[in-house]
Protein backbone atom coordinates (compact mmCIF):
# COMPACT_ATOMS: atom_id res chain seq x y z
CA UNK A 1 0.00 0.00 0.00
CA UNK A 2 0.99 3.53 -0.62
CA UNK A 3 1.04 4.31 3.03
CA UNK A 4 3.37 1.58 4.01
CA UNK A 5 5.91 2.72 1.48
CA UNK A 6 5.72 6.26 2.63
CA UNK A 7 6.26 5.19 6.15
CA UNK A 8 9.31 3.19 5.39
CA UNK A 9 10.98 6.16 3.92
CA UNK A 10 10.03 8.07 6.96
CA UNK A 11 11.35 5.62 9.43
CA UNK A 12 14.79 5.63 7.91
CA UNK A 13 14.70 9.29 7.48
CA UNK A 14 14.12 9.96 11.11
CA UNK A 15 12.04 12.96 10.36
CA UNK A 16 8.49 11.96 10.92
CA UNK A 17 7.12 10.08 13.84
CA UNK A 18 3.52 10.26 12.76
CA UNK A 19 3.97 7.88 9.95
CA UNK A 20 2.43 9.92 7.23
CA UNK A 21 4.13 11.96 4.69
CA UNK A 22 1.66 14.64 4.02
CA UNK A 23 -1.41 13.47 2.44
CA UNK A 24 -2.91 10.18 1.51
CA UNK A 25 -3.45 11.39 -2.00
CA UNK A 26 0.24 11.79 -2.41
CA UNK A 27 1.52 9.02 -4.55
CA UNK A 28 4.75 8.01 -2.95
CA UNK A 29 5.47 5.26 -5.35
CA UNK A 30 7.16 6.00 -8.60
CA UNK A 31 7.87 9.56 -7.75
CA UNK A 32 11.51 10.14 -7.07
CA UNK A 33 10.93 13.54 -5.60
CA UNK A 34 8.55 12.45 -2.91
CA UNK A 35 10.75 9.82 -1.46
CA UNK A 36 13.29 11.35 0.81
CA UNK A 37 16.57 11.07 -0.90
CA UNK A 38 18.55 14.08 -0.01
CA UNK A 39 17.06 14.23 3.46
CA UNK A 40 15.87 17.80 3.41
CA UNK A 41 15.31 17.70 7.14
CA UNK A 42 18.86 17.22 8.16
CA UNK A 43 18.99 20.77 9.30
CA UNK A 44 16.27 20.18 11.83
CA UNK A 45 18.09 17.48 13.67
CA UNK A 46 20.60 19.95 14.90
CA UNK A 47 17.81 22.13 16.16
CA UNK A 48 16.24 19.69 18.52
CA UNK A 49 17.06 21.11 21.87
CA UNK A 50 18.73 18.98 24.40
CA UNK A 51 17.87 18.93 28.01
CA UNK A 52 14.70 17.04 27.35
CA UNK A 53 15.76 13.64 28.46
CA UNK A 54 12.21 12.38 28.07
CA UNK A 55 11.97 13.12 24.40
CA UNK A 56 15.50 12.32 23.50
CA UNK A 57 14.58 8.82 22.52
CA UNK A 58 17.93 7.23 23.11
CA UNK A 59 17.88 3.59 22.30
CA UNK A 60 14.21 3.12 23.04
CA UNK A 61 12.20 0.82 20.89
CA UNK A 62 9.45 2.71 19.15
CA UNK A 63 6.26 1.18 17.80
CA UNK A 64 6.36 0.17 14.17
CA UNK A 65 9.92 1.37 13.85
CA UNK A 66 8.87 5.00 13.77
CA UNK A 67 11.26 7.64 14.88
CA UNK A 68 10.87 9.60 18.05
CA UNK A 69 9.54 13.10 17.68
CA UNK A 70 11.89 16.00 17.96
CA UNK A 71 11.03 19.02 19.99
CA UNK A 72 11.71 22.61 19.21
CA UNK A 73 10.72 26.03 20.47
CA UNK A 74 7.21 27.16 19.71
CA UNK A 75 5.31 30.35 20.11
CA UNK A 76 3.89 29.40 23.51
CA UNK A 77 7.28 28.56 24.95
CA UNK A 78 6.30 24.95 25.48
CA UNK A 79 8.82 23.24 23.20
CA UNK A 80 6.36 20.69 21.91
CA UNK A 81 6.90 17.89 19.46
CA UNK A 82 7.59 18.78 15.91
CA UNK A 83 6.27 16.88 12.97
CA UNK A 84 7.48 16.96 9.39
CA UNK A 85 4.86 16.85 6.72
CA UNK A 86 4.94 17.10 2.99
CA UNK A 87 2.06 18.93 1.38
CA UNK A 88 1.66 18.03 -2.26
CA UNK A 89 2.61 17.42 -4.99
CA UNK A 90 -0.70 15.67 -5.54
CA UNK A 91 -3.16 16.94 -3.00
CA UNK A 92 -6.73 17.77 -3.78
CA UNK A 93 -7.17 21.45 -4.60
CA UNK A 94 -3.43 21.99 -4.47
CA UNK A 95 -1.35 23.58 -7.24
CA UNK A 96 -0.19 20.52 -9.15
CA UNK A 97 3.48 19.80 -8.73
CA UNK A 98 4.08 22.11 -5.81
CA UNK A 99 5.71 20.44 -2.85
CA UNK A 100 5.71 22.21 0.47
CA UNK A 101 7.83 20.54 3.09
CA UNK A 102 6.73 21.87 6.43
CA UNK A 103 7.56 21.33 10.07
CA UNK A 104 4.45 21.70 12.19
CA UNK A 105 3.79 21.88 15.88
CA UNK A 106 0.20 21.01 16.42
CA UNK A 107 -1.40 22.49 13.33
CA UNK A 108 0.88 25.53 13.15
CA UNK A 109 3.58 25.61 10.53
CA UNK A 110 6.98 26.49 11.96
CA UNK A 111 9.20 26.03 8.95
CA UNK A 112 8.42 25.66 5.29
CA UNK A 113 10.35 24.90 2.15
CA UNK A 114 8.71 25.00 -1.26
CA UNK A 115 9.88 22.86 -4.13
CA UNK A 116 8.47 21.87 -7.44
CA UNK A 117 7.95 18.53 -9.01
CA UNK A 118 7.07 17.84 -12.60
CA UNK A 119 6.39 21.39 -13.76
CA UNK A 120 7.30 21.69 -17.41
CA UNK A 121 8.42 25.28 -17.20
CA UNK A 122 7.76 25.70 -20.90
CA UNK A 123 4.77 27.97 -20.74
CA UNK A 124 1.46 28.03 -19.00
CA UNK A 125 -1.71 26.88 -20.67
CA UNK A 126 -3.34 30.10 -19.56
CA UNK A 127 -0.64 32.23 -21.21
CA UNK A 128 -0.73 30.44 -24.49
CA UNK A 129 -2.80 32.91 -26.57
CA UNK A 130 -0.89 35.95 -25.34
CA UNK A 131 2.40 34.16 -25.97
CA UNK A 132 1.30 33.46 -29.51
CA UNK A 133 0.32 37.10 -29.89
CA UNK A 134 3.73 38.11 -28.67
CA UNK A 135 5.35 35.91 -31.28
CA UNK A 136 3.37 37.82 -33.87
CA UNK A 137 0.77 35.20 -34.71
CA UNK A 138 -2.74 36.47 -35.36
CA UNK A 139 -4.67 36.21 -32.09
CA UNK A 140 -7.97 37.93 -31.43
CA UNK A 141 -8.47 39.85 -28.25
CA UNK A 142 -11.43 37.64 -27.46
CA UNK A 143 -9.23 34.60 -27.43
CA UNK A 144 -6.92 36.12 -24.86
CA UNK A 145 -9.84 37.35 -22.81
CA UNK A 146 -11.50 33.95 -22.84
CA UNK A 147 -8.36 32.29 -21.57
CA UNK A 148 -7.87 34.98 -18.93
CA UNK A 149 -11.41 34.61 -17.63
CA UNK A 150 -10.98 30.86 -17.58
CA UNK A 151 -7.79 31.20 -15.60
CA UNK A 152 -9.34 33.45 -12.98
CA UNK A 153 -12.31 31.12 -12.59
CA UNK A 154 -9.98 28.14 -12.35
CA UNK A 155 -8.02 29.74 -9.53
CA UNK A 156 -11.24 30.87 -7.90
CA UNK A 157 -12.68 27.36 -8.00
CA UNK A 158 -9.64 26.00 -6.21
CA UNK A 159 -9.69 28.74 -3.58
CA UNK A 160 -13.40 28.35 -2.92
CA UNK A 161 -13.05 24.61 -2.55
CA UNK A 162 -10.26 25.07 0.00
CA UNK A 163 -12.38 27.70 1.73
CA UNK A 164 -15.03 25.02 2.18
CA UNK A 165 -17.58 26.32 -0.30
CA UNK A 166 -18.05 23.49 -2.78
CA UNK A 167 -21.25 24.91 -4.20
CA UNK A 168 -19.66 28.17 -5.31
CA UNK A 169 -16.54 26.35 -6.43
CA UNK A 170 -18.72 24.12 -8.61
CA UNK A 171 -20.34 27.16 -10.20
CA UNK A 172 -16.96 28.72 -10.95
CA UNK A 173 -15.67 25.55 -12.55
CA UNK A 174 -18.79 25.01 -14.57
CA UNK A 175 -18.51 28.52 -16.00
CA UNK A 176 -14.79 28.04 -16.61
CA UNK A 177 -15.40 24.91 -18.64
CA UNK A 178 -18.19 26.55 -20.61
CA UNK A 179 -16.09 29.62 -21.30
CA UNK A 180 -13.14 27.62 -22.55
CA UNK A 181 -15.60 25.61 -24.60
CA UNK A 182 -16.72 28.75 -26.40
CA UNK A 183 -19.73 30.02 -24.45
CA UNK A 184 -20.91 33.28 -26.08
CA UNK A 185 -20.43 36.44 -24.05
CA UNK A 186 -24.15 37.11 -23.93
CA UNK A 187 -24.68 33.87 -22.02
CA UNK A 188 -21.52 34.05 -19.96
CA UNK A 189 -22.00 37.57 -18.61
CA UNK A 190 -25.20 36.94 -16.58
CA UNK A 191 -23.83 33.70 -15.16
CA UNK A 192 -20.61 35.40 -14.16
CA UNK A 193 -22.64 38.24 -12.70
CA UNK A 194 -24.51 35.82 -10.47
CA UNK A 195 -21.29 34.19 -9.35
CA UNK A 196 -19.64 37.53 -8.65
CA UNK A 197 -22.63 38.68 -6.63
CA UNK A 198 -22.72 35.44 -4.70
CA UNK A 199 -19.01 35.19 -3.96
CA UNK A 200 -18.06 38.85 -3.95
CA UNK A 201 -20.77 39.79 -1.51
CA UNK A 202 -20.30 36.87 0.86
CA UNK A 203 -19.51 38.49 4.16
CA UNK A 204 -18.46 35.21 5.71
CA UNK A 205 -15.90 34.55 2.97
CA UNK A 206 -14.62 38.07 3.27
CA UNK A 207 -14.32 37.78 7.06
CA UNK A 208 -12.61 34.42 6.78
CA UNK A 209 -9.99 35.58 4.29
CA UNK A 210 -9.30 39.13 5.47
CA UNK A 211 -5.77 39.67 6.70
CA UNK A 212 -4.47 36.28 5.63
CA UNK A 213 -1.30 36.00 3.57
CA UNK A 214 -0.55 39.70 3.47
CA UNK A 215 1.94 40.29 0.67
CA UNK A 216 2.83 43.13 -1.66
CA UNK A 217 -0.42 42.63 -3.57
CA UNK A 218 -2.70 42.53 -0.56
CA UNK A 219 -4.25 39.67 1.38
CA UNK A 220 -6.18 36.59 0.30
CA UNK A 221 -9.39 38.59 0.13
CA UNK A 222 -7.81 41.22 -2.09
CA UNK A 223 -6.56 38.50 -4.42
CA UNK A 224 -9.85 36.72 -4.94
CA UNK A 225 -11.65 40.02 -5.37
CA UNK A 226 -9.13 40.95 -8.05
CA UNK A 227 -9.78 37.63 -9.76
CA UNK A 228 -13.47 38.42 -9.82
CA UNK A 229 -12.84 41.87 -11.29
CA UNK A 230 -10.45 40.42 -13.88
CA UNK A 231 -12.98 37.81 -14.90
CA UNK A 232 -15.73 40.40 -15.28
CA UNK A 233 -13.49 42.62 -17.40
CA UNK A 234 -12.33 39.71 -19.51
CA UNK A 235 -15.84 38.50 -20.19
CA UNK A 236 -16.88 42.05 -21.08
CA UNK A 237 -14.16 42.14 -23.73
CA UNK A 238 -14.86 38.69 -25.14
CA UNK A 239 -16.03 40.14 -28.42
CA UNK A 240 -13.35 42.80 -28.61
CA UNK A 241 -11.19 42.80 -31.68
CA UNK A 242 -8.14 44.22 -29.96
CA UNK A 243 -6.04 42.46 -27.44
CA UNK A 244 -7.69 43.52 -24.18
CA UNK A 245 -6.00 45.37 -21.39
CA UNK A 246 -6.20 42.32 -19.21
CA UNK A 247 -2.86 40.66 -18.97
CA UNK A 248 -2.03 37.65 -16.96
CA UNK A 249 -2.13 38.99 -13.43
CA UNK A 250 -0.53 36.03 -11.82
CA UNK A 251 1.32 36.53 -8.60
CA UNK A 252 4.50 36.17 -10.65
CA UNK A 253 5.01 39.58 -12.19
CA UNK A 254 7.42 40.33 -15.00
CA UNK A 255 10.72 41.29 -13.52
CA UNK A 256 10.40 39.07 -10.48
CA UNK A 257 13.49 36.95 -9.94
CA UNK A 258 12.97 33.24 -10.52
CA UNK A 259 11.78 31.43 -7.44
CA UNK A 260 10.39 34.58 -5.88
CA UNK A 261 6.89 33.18 -5.80
CA UNK A 262 8.01 30.07 -3.98
CA UNK A 263 9.92 32.20 -1.51
CA UNK A 264 6.86 34.32 -0.91
CA UNK A 265 4.84 31.20 -0.20
CA UNK A 266 7.47 29.98 2.25
CA UNK A 267 7.43 33.28 4.08
CA UNK A 268 3.67 33.62 4.17
CA UNK A 269 2.82 30.17 5.50
CA UNK A 270 5.26 30.15 8.40
CA UNK A 271 3.37 30.79 11.61
CA UNK A 272 -0.02 29.97 10.13
CA UNK A 273 -2.41 27.15 10.82
CA UNK A 274 -2.61 24.44 8.17
CA UNK A 275 -5.98 25.61 6.88
CA UNK A 276 -4.76 29.19 6.57
CA UNK A 277 -1.67 27.98 4.76
CA UNK A 278 -3.89 26.15 2.28
CA UNK A 279 -5.88 29.33 1.67
CA UNK A 280 -2.71 31.37 1.18
CA UNK A 281 -1.29 28.88 -1.32
CA UNK A 282 -4.60 28.70 -3.14
CA UNK A 283 -4.77 32.48 -3.33
CA UNK A 284 -1.31 32.67 -4.89
CA UNK A 285 -2.05 29.66 -7.04
CA UNK A 286 1.34 29.23 -8.65
CA UNK A 287 1.24 27.67 -12.09
CA UNK A 288 4.30 25.46 -12.27
CA UNK A 289 4.26 25.39 -16.04
CA UNK A 290 5.15 29.04 -15.90
CA UNK A 291 8.91 29.35 -16.37
CA UNK A 292 9.06 32.19 -13.88
CA UNK A 293 7.87 29.90 -11.11
CA UNK A 294 9.29 26.53 -11.97
CA UNK A 295 12.80 27.85 -11.62
CA UNK A 296 13.55 25.98 -8.42
CA UNK A 297 13.41 22.25 -8.51
CA UNK A 298 13.56 20.12 -5.43
Amino acid sequence: MVHQDGNHDTAHDGGDHMGHQGDPHTAHQGDPHTAHQGDPHTAHHGMSDDGDDMAGGGGMEMPAGLAMAERTEDRDGLKLDQLHLTLGPLLSEWPTGLVLRVAVQGDVIQQARAETVGGTGDGSFWDEPSERARRGEPVTGGEVARRTAGHRLDSLGRLLEVAGWPAAAGSARWLRDDLLGGLPAALAAPRLGRLVRHVGRSRVLSQMTAGLGQASDGDVRARYRRWLDDAVRAVASLNGPESPGVVRASFARPGMPPGAVLETIEQLVVGTELGVARLVVASIDPDLDDPRIAARHG
Binding site: H3, H20, E161, S202
Partner: protein, 310 residues
Protein backbone atom coordinates in the same frame (compact mmCIF):
# COMPACT_ATOMS: atom_id res chain seq x y z
CA UNK B 1 -49.88 14.56 25.18
CA UNK B 2 -46.60 12.79 24.49
CA UNK B 3 -46.72 9.12 25.26
CA UNK B 4 -44.10 6.40 25.18
CA UNK B 5 -44.27 4.33 22.03
CA UNK B 6 -44.40 0.53 22.04
CA UNK B 7 -41.12 -1.39 22.14
CA UNK B 8 -40.81 -1.73 18.38
CA UNK B 9 -40.37 2.01 18.15
CA UNK B 10 -36.74 1.31 18.99
CA UNK B 11 -36.46 -0.24 15.54
CA UNK B 12 -38.50 2.43 13.79
CA UNK B 13 -36.57 5.40 15.14
CA UNK B 14 -33.30 4.71 13.32
CA UNK B 15 -35.26 4.13 10.12
CA UNK B 16 -37.15 7.41 10.43
CA UNK B 17 -33.97 9.27 11.32
CA UNK B 18 -32.24 7.60 8.39
CA UNK B 19 -35.04 8.70 6.08
CA UNK B 20 -34.65 12.31 7.17
CA UNK B 21 -30.87 12.07 6.76
CA UNK B 22 -31.25 10.54 3.30
CA UNK B 23 -33.57 13.33 2.32
CA UNK B 24 -31.06 15.88 3.53
CA UNK B 25 -28.25 14.21 1.60
CA UNK B 26 -30.38 14.13 -1.56
CA UNK B 27 -31.35 17.77 -1.19
CA UNK B 28 -27.73 18.70 -0.63
CA UNK B 29 -26.57 16.76 -3.67
CA UNK B 30 -29.35 18.25 -5.75
CA UNK B 31 -28.26 21.77 -4.81
CA UNK B 32 -24.63 20.91 -5.52
CA UNK B 33 -25.49 19.41 -8.88
CA UNK B 34 -27.52 22.44 -9.90
CA UNK B 35 -24.76 24.81 -8.84
CA UNK B 36 -22.10 23.02 -10.84
CA UNK B 37 -24.15 22.17 -13.90
CA UNK B 38 -24.17 18.43 -13.30
CA UNK B 39 -27.30 16.45 -14.13
CA UNK B 40 -29.80 17.46 -11.47
CA UNK B 41 -32.86 15.41 -12.30
CA UNK B 42 -34.04 13.59 -9.17
CA UNK B 43 -33.22 10.25 -10.74
CA UNK B 44 -29.68 11.28 -11.55
CA UNK B 45 -29.14 12.59 -8.03
CA UNK B 46 -30.58 9.48 -6.44
CA UNK B 47 -28.54 7.30 -8.75
CA UNK B 48 -25.39 9.22 -7.88
CA UNK B 49 -25.97 8.70 -4.20
CA UNK B 50 -26.66 4.99 -4.62
CA UNK B 51 -23.50 4.63 -6.69
CA UNK B 52 -21.44 6.29 -4.00
CA UNK B 53 -22.92 4.15 -1.25
CA UNK B 54 -22.39 0.98 -3.26
CA UNK B 55 -18.85 2.07 -4.03
CA UNK B 56 -18.09 2.51 -0.34
CA UNK B 57 -19.67 -0.83 0.49
CA UNK B 58 -17.47 -2.76 -1.89
CA UNK B 59 -14.24 -0.82 -1.44
CA UNK B 60 -11.63 -2.03 0.98
CA UNK B 61 -10.88 -0.62 4.38
CA UNK B 62 -7.63 1.24 4.63
CA UNK B 63 -4.94 0.34 7.10
CA UNK B 64 -2.33 2.74 8.34
CA UNK B 65 0.90 2.23 10.17
CA UNK B 66 0.76 2.19 13.96
CA UNK B 67 -2.92 3.01 14.04
CA UNK B 68 -4.98 2.75 17.20
CA UNK B 69 -7.58 0.45 15.73
CA UNK B 70 -9.72 0.14 18.86
CA UNK B 71 -10.24 3.86 19.35
CA UNK B 72 -10.57 4.41 15.61
CA UNK B 73 -13.43 1.96 15.21
CA UNK B 74 -15.04 3.13 18.44
CA UNK B 75 -14.94 6.70 17.20
CA UNK B 76 -16.35 5.89 13.78
CA UNK B 77 -19.20 3.84 15.20
CA UNK B 78 -19.76 6.31 18.02
CA UNK B 79 -20.97 9.08 15.71
CA UNK B 80 -24.13 7.37 14.36
CA UNK B 81 -24.77 5.69 17.70
CA UNK B 82 -24.78 9.06 19.46
CA UNK B 83 -27.23 10.40 16.88
CA UNK B 84 -29.65 7.51 17.33
CA UNK B 85 -29.44 7.63 21.12
CA UNK B 86 -30.03 11.37 21.03
CA UNK B 87 -33.34 11.07 19.19
CA UNK B 88 -34.65 8.60 21.77
CA UNK B 89 -36.12 11.60 23.59
CA UNK B 90 -37.37 13.45 20.50
CA UNK B 91 -41.11 13.07 19.99
CA UNK B 92 -42.62 12.51 16.57
CA UNK B 93 -46.08 13.88 17.08
CA UNK B 94 -47.33 12.03 20.13
CA UNK B 95 -44.87 9.17 20.02
CA UNK B 96 -41.47 9.04 21.62
CA UNK B 97 -39.21 6.15 22.53
CA UNK B 98 -38.81 7.37 26.07
CA UNK B 99 -39.83 10.79 27.28
CA UNK B 100 -37.14 10.94 29.93
CA UNK B 101 -37.62 13.40 32.74
CA UNK B 102 -34.22 14.79 31.92
CA UNK B 103 -34.63 14.52 28.17
CA UNK B 104 -32.96 17.83 27.40
CA UNK B 105 -29.86 16.88 29.39
CA UNK B 106 -29.87 13.46 27.74
CA UNK B 107 -29.82 15.03 24.31
CA UNK B 108 -26.99 17.30 25.40
CA UNK B 109 -24.99 14.36 26.75
CA UNK B 110 -25.39 12.38 23.54
CA UNK B 111 -24.40 15.38 21.48
CA UNK B 112 -21.24 15.78 23.54
CA UNK B 113 -20.41 12.12 22.94
CA UNK B 114 -19.70 13.14 19.36
CA UNK B 115 -16.72 15.17 20.57
CA UNK B 116 -15.13 12.08 21.99
CA UNK B 117 -16.14 9.98 18.99
CA UNK B 118 -14.82 12.38 16.38
CA UNK B 119 -11.63 12.98 18.33
CA UNK B 120 -11.05 9.24 18.55
CA UNK B 121 -11.85 8.82 14.86
CA UNK B 122 -9.27 11.48 14.08
CA UNK B 123 -6.71 10.04 16.46
CA UNK B 124 -7.05 6.42 15.44
CA UNK B 125 -5.39 6.25 12.04
CA UNK B 126 -2.17 7.93 13.19
CA UNK B 127 -2.27 10.40 10.36
CA UNK B 128 -1.52 14.09 10.66
CA UNK B 129 -4.47 15.54 8.77
CA UNK B 130 -6.88 13.21 10.47
CA UNK B 131 -5.49 14.12 13.88
CA UNK B 132 -5.76 17.83 13.18
CA UNK B 133 -9.37 17.21 12.16
CA UNK B 134 -10.02 15.51 15.48
CA UNK B 135 -8.54 18.41 17.39
CA UNK B 136 -10.59 20.87 15.40
CA UNK B 137 -13.71 19.04 16.53
CA UNK B 138 -12.74 19.62 20.17
CA UNK B 139 -12.06 23.29 19.51
CA UNK B 140 -15.34 23.58 17.66
CA UNK B 141 -17.15 21.83 20.47
CA UNK B 142 -15.72 24.22 23.02
CA UNK B 143 -16.94 27.10 20.87
CA UNK B 144 -20.52 26.03 20.29
CA UNK B 145 -21.16 24.12 23.50
CA UNK B 146 -21.88 26.96 25.91
CA UNK B 147 -24.28 28.82 23.57
CA UNK B 148 -25.92 25.43 22.92
CA UNK B 149 -26.30 24.75 26.62
CA UNK B 150 -27.66 28.20 27.31
CA UNK B 151 -30.16 27.78 24.49
CA UNK B 152 -31.33 24.55 26.13
CA UNK B 153 -31.41 26.21 29.56
CA UNK B 154 -33.61 28.97 28.18
CA UNK B 155 -36.11 26.45 26.88
CA UNK B 156 -36.04 24.45 30.08
CA UNK B 157 -36.52 27.61 32.13
CA UNK B 158 -39.47 28.71 30.05
CA UNK B 159 -41.15 25.34 30.35
CA UNK B 160 -40.05 24.73 33.92
CA UNK B 161 -39.09 21.23 32.92
CA UNK B 162 -36.31 19.20 31.38
CA UNK B 163 -38.84 16.82 29.86
CA UNK B 164 -39.29 17.27 26.13
CA UNK B 165 -42.99 16.35 26.24
CA UNK B 166 -43.62 18.99 28.86
CA UNK B 167 -41.66 21.55 26.85
CA UNK B 168 -43.93 20.90 23.86
CA UNK B 169 -47.00 21.24 26.04
CA UNK B 170 -45.83 24.65 27.22
CA UNK B 171 -45.84 25.97 23.66
CA UNK B 172 -49.57 25.50 23.20
CA UNK B 173 -50.16 29.23 22.96
CA UNK B 174 -46.89 30.52 21.65
CA UNK B 175 -43.90 28.76 20.16
CA UNK B 176 -40.66 29.40 22.00
CA UNK B 177 -38.98 30.52 18.80
CA UNK B 178 -41.15 33.63 18.83
CA UNK B 179 -39.72 35.01 22.03
CA UNK B 180 -36.43 33.09 22.11
CA UNK B 181 -35.08 33.65 18.61
CA UNK B 182 -31.49 33.97 19.81
CA UNK B 183 -31.68 30.61 21.51
CA UNK B 184 -33.14 29.09 18.36
CA UNK B 185 -30.36 30.53 16.22
CA UNK B 186 -27.69 29.39 18.67
CA UNK B 187 -29.22 25.93 18.73
CA UNK B 188 -29.24 25.64 14.94
CA UNK B 189 -25.62 26.81 14.75
CA UNK B 190 -24.65 24.19 17.28
CA UNK B 191 -26.50 21.53 15.27
CA UNK B 192 -24.27 22.35 12.32
CA UNK B 193 -21.38 22.32 14.78
CA UNK B 194 -21.90 18.90 16.30
CA UNK B 195 -22.71 17.27 12.98
CA UNK B 196 -19.61 19.00 11.53
CA UNK B 197 -21.48 19.86 8.38
CA UNK B 198 -21.72 22.97 6.30
CA UNK B 199 -20.12 26.14 7.56
CA UNK B 200 -18.82 24.20 10.56
CA UNK B 201 -17.19 21.36 8.65
CA UNK B 202 -13.64 22.25 9.61
CA UNK B 203 -13.03 18.90 11.37
CA UNK B 204 -13.66 17.29 7.98
CA UNK B 205 -12.45 20.30 6.04
CA UNK B 206 -11.42 20.40 2.42
CA UNK B 207 -8.24 22.16 3.53
CA UNK B 208 -7.23 18.97 5.32
CA UNK B 209 -8.22 16.82 2.35
CA UNK B 210 -11.14 15.59 4.44
CA UNK B 211 -9.80 15.85 8.01
CA UNK B 212 -11.20 13.01 10.08
CA UNK B 213 -12.48 11.45 6.86
CA UNK B 214 -9.02 11.28 5.25
CA UNK B 215 -8.09 7.79 6.25
CA UNK B 216 -11.45 6.12 6.60
CA UNK B 217 -12.42 4.12 3.58
CA UNK B 218 -15.01 1.56 2.67
CA UNK B 219 -17.66 0.71 5.20
CA UNK B 220 -16.01 2.81 7.89
CA UNK B 221 -16.28 5.90 5.74
CA UNK B 222 -19.92 5.15 5.04
CA UNK B 223 -20.63 4.77 8.75
CA UNK B 224 -18.89 8.01 9.63
CA UNK B 225 -20.44 9.97 6.77
CA UNK B 226 -23.90 8.62 7.53
CA UNK B 227 -23.33 9.45 11.19
CA UNK B 228 -22.81 13.10 10.35
CA UNK B 229 -26.07 13.34 8.48
CA UNK B 230 -27.88 11.40 11.18
CA UNK B 231 -26.61 13.95 13.67
CA UNK B 232 -27.83 16.76 11.47
CA UNK B 233 -31.25 15.13 11.21
CA UNK B 234 -31.31 14.50 14.97
CA UNK B 235 -30.50 18.13 15.68
CA UNK B 236 -33.18 19.34 13.27
CA UNK B 237 -35.69 16.95 14.82
CA UNK B 238 -34.86 18.20 18.31
CA UNK B 239 -35.23 21.85 17.29
CA UNK B 240 -38.89 21.16 16.52
CA UNK B 241 -40.09 20.20 20.03
CA UNK B 242 -37.74 22.69 21.67
CA UNK B 243 -38.61 25.80 19.70
CA UNK B 244 -41.29 25.11 17.11
CA UNK B 245 -44.03 23.59 19.20
CA UNK B 246 -43.37 19.96 18.31
CA UNK B 247 -46.47 18.33 16.88
CA UNK B 248 -48.70 21.30 17.70
CA UNK B 249 -50.57 22.81 14.78
CA UNK B 250 -54.00 23.09 13.24
CA UNK B 251 -55.66 20.61 10.93
CA UNK B 252 -53.03 18.00 10.35
CA UNK B 253 -52.28 15.18 12.77
CA UNK B 254 -49.45 15.78 15.23
CA UNK B 255 -46.97 13.45 13.52
CA UNK B 256 -47.47 15.23 10.24
CA UNK B 257 -46.68 18.58 11.85
CA UNK B 258 -43.56 17.11 13.41
CA UNK B 259 -42.42 15.76 10.05
CA UNK B 260 -43.22 19.00 8.22
CA UNK B 261 -41.37 21.15 10.72
CA UNK B 262 -38.39 18.83 10.81
CA UNK B 263 -38.19 18.88 7.03
CA UNK B 264 -38.32 22.67 7.16
CA UNK B 265 -35.50 22.97 9.68
CA UNK B 266 -33.44 20.37 7.85
CA UNK B 267 -33.98 22.23 4.59
CA UNK B 268 -32.81 25.48 6.15
CA UNK B 269 -29.68 23.77 7.49
CA UNK B 270 -28.88 22.18 4.13
CA UNK B 271 -29.41 25.52 2.39
CA UNK B 272 -27.03 27.18 4.84
CA UNK B 273 -24.42 24.63 3.92
CA UNK B 274 -24.65 25.74 0.31
CA UNK B 275 -24.84 29.46 0.88
CA UNK B 276 -21.99 29.90 3.34
CA UNK B 277 -18.33 28.88 3.14
CA UNK B 278 -16.56 27.15 5.99
CA UNK B 279 -16.27 29.21 9.13
CA UNK B 280 -12.73 28.82 10.41
CA UNK B 281 -12.40 28.22 14.13
CA UNK B 282 -9.79 30.85 14.84
CA UNK B 283 -12.28 33.45 13.65
CA UNK B 284 -15.39 31.73 14.95
CA UNK B 285 -14.25 31.00 18.51
CA UNK B 286 -13.89 34.67 19.54
CA UNK B 287 -17.26 35.44 17.99
CA UNK B 288 -18.90 32.51 19.76
CA UNK B 289 -17.46 33.44 23.13
CA UNK B 290 -17.69 37.21 22.96
CA UNK B 291 -20.95 37.70 21.07
CA UNK B 292 -23.08 34.57 20.90
CA UNK B 293 -22.51 33.46 24.48
CA UNK B 294 -23.51 36.78 26.10
CA UNK B 295 -26.51 36.97 23.77
CA UNK B 296 -27.77 33.56 24.84
CA UNK B 297 -27.25 34.48 28.48
CA UNK B 298 -29.37 37.59 27.96
CA UNK B 299 -31.91 35.36 26.23
CA UNK B 300 -32.03 33.16 29.31
CA UNK B 301 -32.48 36.21 31.49
CA UNK B 302 -35.46 37.19 29.36
CA UNK B 303 -36.87 33.70 29.73
CA UNK B 304 -36.42 33.81 33.50
CA UNK B 305 -38.09 37.20 33.80
CA UNK B 306 -41.03 36.10 31.65
CA UNK B 307 -41.47 33.00 33.81
CA UNK B 308 -41.36 35.11 36.98
CA UNK B 309 -43.92 37.59 35.70
CA UNK B 310 -46.27 34.97 34.33
Amino acid sequence: MVEPAPWWAVLVVPAVLGAFATGAVLASRLLAARASGAPSRPRAVLGGMCDDVAGLLVSRRRTTLASDLVLWRLGVVGVPVAAILAVAVVPLGHWVVDDLRVGVVWFNAMEILTWAAVWAAGWGPNSAFSLVGGYRMVAQGLSYELPHMFALIGVATAAGSLQVGSIVAHQRHLWFVVWMPVGFAAFLLSVLGFSFIGPFDQPAGADLAGGVLVEVAGVDRLVLAVGRWLLLAAGAAMAVPLFLGGGLGPGLPAWAWSVLKTVGVLGALVATRHLVPTVRLERWAPLAWLVLLPLTIVQDLVAAVVVLLR
